[in-house]
Subunit: 280 residues, 3 copies
C-alpha cells in the first residue's frame, strides 16, 4: 500500500489498483448545475478519483432515494454521497457511515442512507460530521451537498480516518429508514411502492428472496391497490407477456418490480411512490 | 504497443496514447441509476478508460436510438454499447460488431447498431455474445446492459479478442436496421422521421449528400405530411430565417434536419418519430 | 512546470497537480447526444483532462445560462465552454475570454459569458476565435459547440496561447450581459428573475451582499409581481418556514433565492425567467 503514495513514481498497475471511487446521488434534476458543482468539488479535492453521478431522484423523496442507493452494491467500494436533504441547514445531523464492505456513505441523517447498508454488509461505524477542516467554508446553510457531504466524501477517499469527522454515534441513534422489508403473513404481503422508474414500473419493499418463497414462476398474482384489483403473472422478464400486459418480476437490484411490457403501470393504474399494496 | 502494458512504468504520452474509450447509450432516462451503474461497472473492469454516457434515447425507440448512434463517428475509436432493449431476456441475440474503423459496437440484435456501422467504415466482423466469462453473474434476465453489454465492452477495451465472445455471425443473419437511406425518385424523396431532438427538430433518413443533389441552397422545399403541406427554404443555419419560421438544413451528423428557428417543428405540426414525409 | 510535460516520466503528485480541467454548459437537454459528443471531442484533444458537463440550461435562454455560469467560481481553474447559441452560423462572433482568476471562457458573443467573469476576478483579455487550426473541419454551420468551442477549450487546456486564436477584442466591443446587478433605490429593489431551478425557486439579479444591506435576517419582505403582492420572511434556510410556505434566502452562489419550502414558487405564482419583480 506504500507503493503508490503521492510523491512516488508509479506504474499503470498501481494507478489502476489504487484508483479512488466517489459517487453522488441527488434530487437536483438531471443536468442541474448542482451536479456539475459536486463533480468539480470532488475532483478538486481528489483529482485522482473516478467521480460518478450515480442517479437523480424525485425531489425531496427520501423513500425513492433510499431505494436507489441500494444499487451501490454494484459500484466499486468507495465514498458514496447522497444529497436528498429537505432539512438542510436545520438541526438534522450530517453523518458518515462505514459499511462492512468497506464503503463510506455520507449524507443527512434522515434515513436515506440506511437501506443501502443492508446491501453492503451492514453498518460498521457511524460518525456525526462536525469537523469543519473537511468542509468548504463558509458553509452555505442551503447547500451542504457542496460544502459538507462531497468534500467529506473526497477527503475519506483521500484516506483520512472517519474518526476525524466528529463524534461516534450508535446506529440506534439515527433517524429510521423510510421503509422496512415486507414479510409474508397469512398468505399475503402487505407492502408499499418505494420507487417508480422512468418507464412507470413500480418497485416494492419486498426482497426477491421473499417473493421466491411466496410464489413460483408462472403463478398468477393478485395486487390490491386502494381501488383496484389487478391479476398478473410472476415471470422472469417483460417479453414473456404481450406488449401492454402487466407482469411481476424479480427486479435487477434484489427486490420486486411490477411493470407493463413496454408501457407504464404507474400511469395506467394511477399509482405513486408511497402507495400501499396488498399482494396475494 | 508493448510499452504501456500493465506492470510497466509509463510516461504521460504513453498514458494518453493508450487511453481506452468506452461509451454507452440507453433509454433509461437522463439521471437514471441505470446509467450510473453502467458507468461504474465499466470503470470496475477498465479503470484506465474514459467512460462516457453518450446519449439518452426515447424509451424503447430503436429508430431514434439507431440515429443517435450514427454520431459515434465523432467519438474516439472504442467500445460503444447501446441498451435499447425491449426484448431483454427473450430469445433475441446479444451481439458485438467490429467496424472497419476499429470500434466495437455491443448491444441487442434488434437493428439498433446497424446504421452507425455505415458511418464507421462498415461491418468487419460480428459475433454472438454467449461466453459467460465476460458477464456479471448471475445475469439478470431484465438488465443485460449491466450484466452482459457493458462488461463485454470493457473487456474488449481491455484487449480480449472478439472471437472469445461466442460464435461468428454473418451480417446477413442480423435483424435489419430500422430504416434505410431514402433516395430521390421522380423529383421527390419519400422519407421518414427517424429522430426528434429536445428542440422539436426533425431528423430525416436522407443523407446530406443526397439532399445536396436534390436541391441547391436557397431553394424552397415542400414537405407533405399526412394532412399538411409546408413550404420552407433549404438553408445553411437556423438564423437565416426569422425566429418562428421553418427551415430545412443539412444537420450536424450527415443527414437532414427540419426545424423552426428557436421553436419546435414537431409540436407545431404534431409530428412524431416514424411519421412518413414526402419532400418535393 | 517543465516537469510534467509530455514525453517525460512523471509521478502521481505531478499528474494530480497538472490535471487539466474542462467544463461545458449547454441547452441541448440532459442526456442529449450533443453533450456526449462535446465530452468525447474534448477527451480526444486533451485525454489527460477532467471533462465535466457542468449544467444544462433552458433552451436558448441566455439569461439563465449566464446565471448558471456564475457557479464556475466553484470549479477548478480551467477552460469553460458555453453553448447557448441561437445565433450559431450567423455573423455573431465566437470569443475566448481570459479571466483574472486564470480561467478561459469560450462561447458565442451573445452576453452569456459576461456575468461569470465578475465572479472570476474580472476580464483580463478577450480574443475573437477565427483560427481554423483549432477547429474540427469542416465546421458545421449549426454546431459550433462541437467544431469550434470545445476544441478551442481543449487546445487552451493543452497550453496554446490565447493569442493564437484570432484578433484581440476590447471588452467594450462585446455584446452586453443579459442582466446587471440590481441596486437599492428609495428602499426598494427593482429586479428580475434570471433563473428558475427544478424545484421552482426563483433566482434574482441581486447580490447577496446587497440583500444583506437591504434587510436583516428575520425581516418580512414584500415581493410585487405583475399582479400579486407576496409577503415572506428573509431567512437562512428553507426549513425555517413550514412546508408549503414562501421564503427568501441568500442563495448558494452569491445571489438571492425566493422559494417555497418543499414546493414550487414559480408554479404557484406563475412566474417565469425574465419577469420583473419589485422588492420592498
Amino acid at each position: 500500500m506504500e507503493i503508490c503514495k503521492r510523491g512516488k513514481e508509479f506504474n499503470i498497475d498501481q494507478l489502476i489498483i489504487f484508483m479512488k471511487f466517489i459517487s453522488f446521488t441527488t434530487d437536483f434534476g438531471a443536468g442541474s448545475r448542482g451536479n456539475g458543482v459536486l463533480m468539480a468539488v470532488a475532483l478538486k479535492i481528489a483529482p485522482d478519483a473516478h467521480v460518478v453521478h450515480f442517479a437523480d431522484v424525485e425531489s425531496f423523496n427520501i423513500k425513492s432515494g433510499a431505494r436507489i442507493l441500494e444499487g451501490i452494491s454494484y459500484l466499486p467500494v468507495g465514498s458514496h454521497t447522497c444529497v436528498i436533504d429537505p432539512g438542510v441547514g436545520t438541526k438534522r445531523m450530517a453523518i458518515a457511515i462505514e459499511t462492512n464492505r468497506g464503503d463510506y456513505l455520507i449524507g443527512p441523517d434522515n434515513g436515506v442512507l440506511l437501506p443501502a447498508c443492508e446491501f453492503l454488509g451492514g453498518i460498521k461505524k457511524v460518525f456525526e460530521i462536525t469537523n469543519e477542516d473537511y468542509m468548504l467554508k463558509p458553509v452555505s446553510p442551503i447547500f451542504h451537498g457542496r460544502d459538507v457531504f462531497i468534500p467529506v466524501a473526497a477527503h475519506l477517499a483521500n484516506g483520512i480516518a472517519i474518526e476525524e469527522l466528529g463524534k461516534e454515534l450508535k446506529a440506534s441513534e439515527l433517524t429510521a429508514a423510510p421503509y422496512k422489508n415486507a414479510q409474508i403473513k397469512n398468505k399475503k404481503i402487505e407492502c408499499e411502492v418505494i420507487h417508480i422508474n422512468k418507464f412507470g414500473s413500480l418497485f416494492i419493499n419486498i426482497l426477491g428472496l421473499t417473493m421466491e418463497k411466496f410464489a413460483s414462476l408462472g403463478k398468477i398474482i393478485t395486487i390490491k391497490t386502494k381501488n383496484k384489483k389487478i391479476s398478473l403473472p410472476y415471470k422472469r422478464t417483460f417479453g414473456e407477456v404481450e406488449k401492454g400486459k402487466p407482469i411481476i418480476v424479480n427486479d435487477d437490484f434484489g427486490r420486486v418490480e411490477i411493470a407493463i411490457n413496454q408501457g407504464s403501470f404507474a400511469n395506467r393504474f394511477k399509482i405513486k411512490i408511497g402507495d400501499k399494496l396488498s399482494i396475494a
